[in-house]
Symmetry: D3
Subunit: 67 residues, 6 copies
Amino acid sequence: MLSARNQLAAVVKSIKLGNVMAEVVVEVAGTEIVAVITRGSAEALKLQPGDHVKAVIKSTEVLIDKS
Amino acid sequence: MLSARNQLAAVVKSIKLGNVMAEVVVEVAGTEIVAVITRGSAEALKLQPGDHVKAVIKSTEVLIDKS
Amino acid sequence: MLSARNQLAAVVKSIKLGNVMAEVVVEVAGTEIVAVITRGSAEALKLQPGDHVKAVIKSTEVLIDKS
Amino acid sequence: MLSARNQLAAVVKSIKLGNVMAEVVVEVAGTEIVAVITRGSAEALKLQPGDHVKAVIKSTEVLIDKS
Amino acid sequence: MLSARNQLAAVVKSIKLGNVMAEVVVEVAGTEIVAVITRGSAEALKLQPGDHVKAVIKSTEVLIDKS
Amino acid sequence: MLSARNQLAAVVKSIKLGNVMAEVVVEVAGTEIVAVITRGSAEALKLQPGDHVKAVIKSTEVLIDKS
């Protein structure tokens, strides 16, 4: 069990590989979330569109914007 | 327009104030997300349950967990 | 109004695009600050040298170094 | 030499101690920057108003906001 | 399997609870590492001294200091 | 003295340069740790395998995983 307070069920939509980093777009409850991880992690996880994953976000990394 | 790729429409459910930090629970598409911001920010934004806000998350802060 | 405590008026000096990430150098009160955002964000914001922007930094991301 | 791209000369203006965290306000080129560090760090550094320090920020933690 | 590149086997040494945050000291290969998580997470994980855990760190959060 | 609570003695094992970012693998007490910094920082530090460095991690960036 991971201490991160935010662990959102997600489906991978696309992966874009750079030399060092990779951009992973996932869908969470109808909304797209973008994650940037290392290319090495994307390959180690063998991420592919359609994969069921969790998007994990530590609560200290979330900002609030109030109009 | 903010560079953060993830800006999720949310409603504030609860705010818990500490001396320095504050924990803000919001609801995004039926899912709870927890944000930790400074108490000073929570007060400056006058955050209250029911407020319509955005939860903002930089893409480099999102991890992917694949079972 | 964004909860981030640090929102510094800045002018874009240069943008360097990678495949996934982009490095944006801005000037804040005579000092350079470097931001790394996604290439996608740099393009969505149509960032160009001379743009007036804000450099936004969550307070939990700032370290203090005392000699 | 630290890899962080942003190391800004600063003067401590105030310190507010919580049980676990501490909020440190510093002045950088006429602008206030807020840092949240652990209370343990604030005590280990013996931070006091008037201290000359550097505010250190990793470039991946900087967002850009363009109106 | 979590995308975070750094997942270090650790033993909990102490936990200090604040109102909102908690400081968890763990030992990794003879070295202490300090984690700050929410008090809510520390309680949900029922963290106690002696617990075998992993300290998880996203690679984008690691700085390099070269003397 | 840096406020970051985690400053681990490390030896550089490899550096992989992208256009914007660089992945630096270091060894800490027999364990590999991966850092992602900007290519500009890797070049400014003239990082090379065998370099003695410190891996620096702010405590708010550490998650705890308990099985």
